[in-house]
């Protein structure tokens, strides 16, 4: 099967900032890709380019279509949730379901109603009467009932409490995701998605600085807890990052020799957030 997204030399410049700087990447089907970067790194611009919401330089093909010229066709196969608060405030649950059911060729009404039955949402309830968590439940019920090949999530759980956040990703994994679907997600709550991601992409200043699947990340990066006596030796091996915990130093290595590291101390797989912090060091400085 062909790649879902192929980007080549993607660039986008706003008046005085560069949002995307010659970014190239490729997303294969059946993956859950985390696009992670600090504020203003170009995540949303990249997603907007994929969704045909913004113009850009470079080549980009999504499901074999050009999002700039074939957007109407593309959106039958692509879904997105941008933030939680984008459902129109005047719409009722019943109206939203009716509208999508009658305008989206790949929408399964029964599925949607089954998802809604699991929530407290009432058919006559308006979005403006809902809490943020309920709005996202409605949005997710609508989106999960659409048989799309690509789902784009831009900060889908921003501002939700932990119960809604956990439920959101659990629903996605249990009831939606399969090998024919691909999900791209951006979020700042890295800890919550790191166990569901299959691929990791770090973006900084419009450039893709890391693009690897999670297995490769585990092989390439290693975290070692080193006693004070061996700290100097560890520093010799060019660690990405060093931090102190309980009088010991934790070093993060990129592509260092495993045997050498084992001699220093206990090796662990670094968490995505530690990796992120180390990679993005100095972004806001």
């Amino acid at each position: 099967m062909n790649a879902i997204v192929v980007a080549n030399g993607l660039s986008k410049r706003y008046k005085n900032t560069v949002a995307l700087d010659n970014a190239s990447f490729r997303i294969e089907p059946g993956r859950i890709v985390g696009l992670i970067g600090p504020n203003g790194a170009g995540k949303t611009t990249a997603l907007k380019a994929i969704l045909g919401l913004t113009d850009f330089q470079g080549e980009l093909s999504v499901l074999g279509l050009d999002p700039r010229r074939q957007r109407d066709k593309l959106m039958e196969q692509v879904c997105f949730i941008a933030d939680v608060a984008v459902l129109p405030r005047w719409i009722r649950v019943r109206e939203a379901v009716d509208f999508v059911a009658n305008t989206h060729p790949r929408f399964d009404r029964k599925k949607c109603e089954a998802f809604l039955a699991r929530t407290k949402l009432q058919p006559d309830q308006r979005v403006k009467q809902m809490s943020k968590g309920m709005i996202v439940q409605l949005h997710l019920a609508l989106v999960m009932a659409i048989d799309a090949r690509l789902l784009v999530l831009d900060e889908p759980t921003l501002g939700l409490d932990i119960l809604y956040r956990k439920q959101f990703y659990q629903n996605l994994l249990e009831d939606y995701f399969d090998e024919n679907k691909t999900i791209i997600v951006t979020t700042h709550q890295v800890e919550e998605v790191e166990h569901i991601l299959t691929d990791l992409m770090f973006i900084r200043d419009g450039k893709i600085v890391l693009d690897a699947d999670m297995d490769a990340v585990g092989e390439r990066f290693a975290e070692v807890m080193v006693g004070a006596d061996k700290a100097a030796a560890a520093r010799q091996l060019n660690p990405l990052d060093e931090r102190q915990v309980f009088g010991k130093s934790i070093f993060l290595f990129d592509g260092a020799d495993r045997a050498q590291l084992e001699a220093l101390g206990e090796i662990r797989r670094p968490s995505v957030s530690d990796l992120f912090v180390a990679t993005m060091k100095g972004t806001y400085a």
């Binding site: 957007r71 959106m75 997105f80 459902l87 129109p88 509208f99 009658n102 989206h104």
Partner: protein
């Protein structure tokens, strides 16, 4: 086609207040005021007292009745039936004006644009569904409300007069409710095409503005007019100032008000005097405006502006 139907329906859902409740309430209030006027008149026991309250049409009828002239009575009744539609059309004008001014702006401001754009809806269909909702659906609802409350008015006055010894059915047979209704319904296509330049301009401003679409829509044409006026004041002869205000400013902003196609020309052609008052609202006469260049140039300009709005809708995002 099914998608288009649902797009128009979506507009109705969102703007039920303006499209449906505004004309219903206007018609209802108008009926109520007239009822109050009649009750006041009856209570005072003086037929002329009717005319003193909100200037209702009773005085006109009273005079007609004394003449005992069937044509004049019929005209009076028809006018009474139309009077509620006139009020409703003014309200409709405001509703449609602000509908078009906000419709491509509000969903960018509250970011619900991102939801609509996540569905496989083309921008062309979206914008055209809004044009249809504002220029056909909204006036159609207004006409229905106008006809229903108009019939209510007719009955209200006929029943009142029957208390004064006038035969109810005899009186009603003078009126032409079907002709009035046909005139109102038949005006909708004219309204839709006459309003095009305003619709296009308001939609364009709505799609263009990053904030305050009203300022763009209103201040820009005023500024151009002042500028032209200033040049003319300085002795340059660009275009007539009056021409600009009449043919550009009014057409771009105020053509969404029903009846704005009626001008002095219509009165003159129909002949003056009350006997011809209904003729001047007659369809054959009203559609005479289609013979004027302002109608066709305006419509073409409107279509071009709508096309520009569609293009802007495609590329403007929520920022």
């Amino acid at each position: 086609m099914k998608t288009f139907y649902w797009l128009v329906k979506r507009e109705f859902w969102e703007h039920r207040g303006g499209f449906l409740w505004a004309p219903v309430i206007t018609g209802g209030v108008f009926l109520l005021l007239n009822l109050m006027g009649i009750i006041a008149g009856e209570a005072m026991g003086n037929f002329n007292a009717h005319t003193n309250f909100i200037g209702n049409n009773m005085g006109l009828l009273d005079r007609a009745l004394t003449d005992n002239d069937a044509a004049t009575i019929g005209m009076g009744l028809d006018f009474m039936m139309l009077s509620t539609s006139m009020f409703i059309s003014i309200v409709l004008g405001f509703v449609v004006f602000f509908y078009f001014l906000g419709t491509l702006y509000d969903d960018r401001r509250d970011r619900s644009l991102l939801f609509w754009k996540s569905l496989p809806l083309s921008d062309t269909a979206t914008v055209l569904s809004k044009v249809v909702a504002g220029t056909i659906l909204a006036p159609a609802i207004a006409v229905i409300c106008g006809v229903l409350t108009g019939i209510g008015m007719l009955l209200l006055f006929a029943i009142t007069l029957s208390f004064h010894g006038v035969n109810l059915w005899h009186l009603l047979s003078y009126a032409h409710p079907f002709r009035v209704t046909a005139n109102l319904v038949g005006t909708i296509p004219l309204y839709a095409s006459w309003a095009l330049p305003s619709v296009g301009w308001l939609l364009l401003c709505s799609a263009w503005a990053r904030s305050k679409p009203f300022l763009w829509a209103a201040v820009l044409p005023v500024a151009v007019g002042m500028f032209l006026g200033w040049f003319n004041l300085m002795g340059a002869r660009l275009v007539g100032g009056g021409w600009y205000w009449r043919e550009v400013f009014v057409r771009a902003l105020l053509s969404v008000f029903p009846g704005s196609w009626l001008g002095e020309r219509n009165f003159a052609e129909a002949g003056n005097g009350p006997g011809h008052a209904m003729d001047f609202l007659d369809l054959g006469h009203v559609y005479g405006v289609m013979a004027t260049p302002t109608f066709w140039i305006g419509a073409l300009a409107g279509i071009a502006l709508i096309a520009a709005a569609i293009w802007l809708r495609r590329w403007r995002d929520d920022t």
